[in-house]
């Protein structure tokens, strides 16, 4: 892990060095989250929506399992959801 010194600009902007941007595909418009760790420490993390969606699917799947659904029950559950959404 390398430490790099950058200076904060007029509107609070910082420039991430080109080498890091190229390596991590931090192109213009890429979303990053800034985590405030307190006492002047900040953590910058590239937002990866694919990973986030995969995580969301895993959380949903865990709940489905806890509720005791199997494949057949899920198909019936989805049929009911379809009818209810249609009739709403």
């Amino acid at each position: 892990m390398k430490s790099i010194t950058v200076r904060i600009g007029e509107k609070g902007q910082i420039t991430i060095p080109i080498g890091i941007r190229e390596r991590d595909k931090l192109d213009k418009g890429t979303q990053v989250e800034v985590v405030d760790l307190g006492e002047g420490s900040l953590f910058i993390n590239k937002i990866d929506r694919k990973k986030e969606l995969l995580l969301a699917f895993r959380i949903l799947g865990k709940r489905i399992k806890e509720k005791g659904y199997n494949k057949d029950k899920l198909i019936d559950f989805c049929r009911q959801v379809r009818r209810d959404v249609y009739n709403a």
């Binding site: 489905i64 399992k65 559950f77 959404v85």
Partner: protein, 145 residues
């Protein structure tokens, strides 16, 4: 790229299998959607089904989050309701009313596949324009690396 309608039951069964680290056919379909290897076709009704199913299983906030992520990541082909409504009368006698919007959006989007585990839906949607298949059938026809 193949244009596919991915039914709600695929999403839920795939989610269950992903949580157990099972590489099932449904989990593979989810992976193809996430990785942009197939183009997902959606309508408001389908997105509402995803939302409603997730809401019943989790809660409203989670449902909103996962629906947003699905759209944001998969960048689907979105078929507006008013376009579907124009075509629906043509098929109303053939397709059950709650499935009609899904069938019609496939016609409009010139889908390659309608993928579902609902056998009744597949049977009634059978046509000469796009294939109506289970995840297993889809993966046995198409090869993905």
């Amino acid at each position: 790229m193949l244009k596919c309608f991915v039914d709600t039951n695929i999403i839920l069964i795939g989610a269950l299998d992903l949580s157990e680290n099972k590489i099932s056919d449904e989990a593979r379909i989810i992976d193809l959607v996430i990785e942009g290897k197939i183009k997902h076709i959606v309508t408001i009704q389908l997105l509402n089904e995803y939302h409603e199913a997730a809401k019943r299983l989790m809660d409203k906030d989670f449902a909103g989050w996962i629906r947003y992520l699905i759209v944001d990541v998969s960048k689907p082909i979105f078929i507006p309701d008013d376009v579907c409504k124009e075509l629906e009368p043509k098929f109303v006698s053939l397709i059950p009313k709650e499935d009609l919007r899904h069938f019609v959006c496939c016609v409009i989007a010139e889908a390659d596949y309608l993928i579902s585990n609902n056998r009744e839906f597949l049977k009634k949607s059978k046509n000469d324009v796009f294939k109506c298949v289970t995840p297993r059938e889809f993966l046995s026809i198409e090869e993905f690396t």
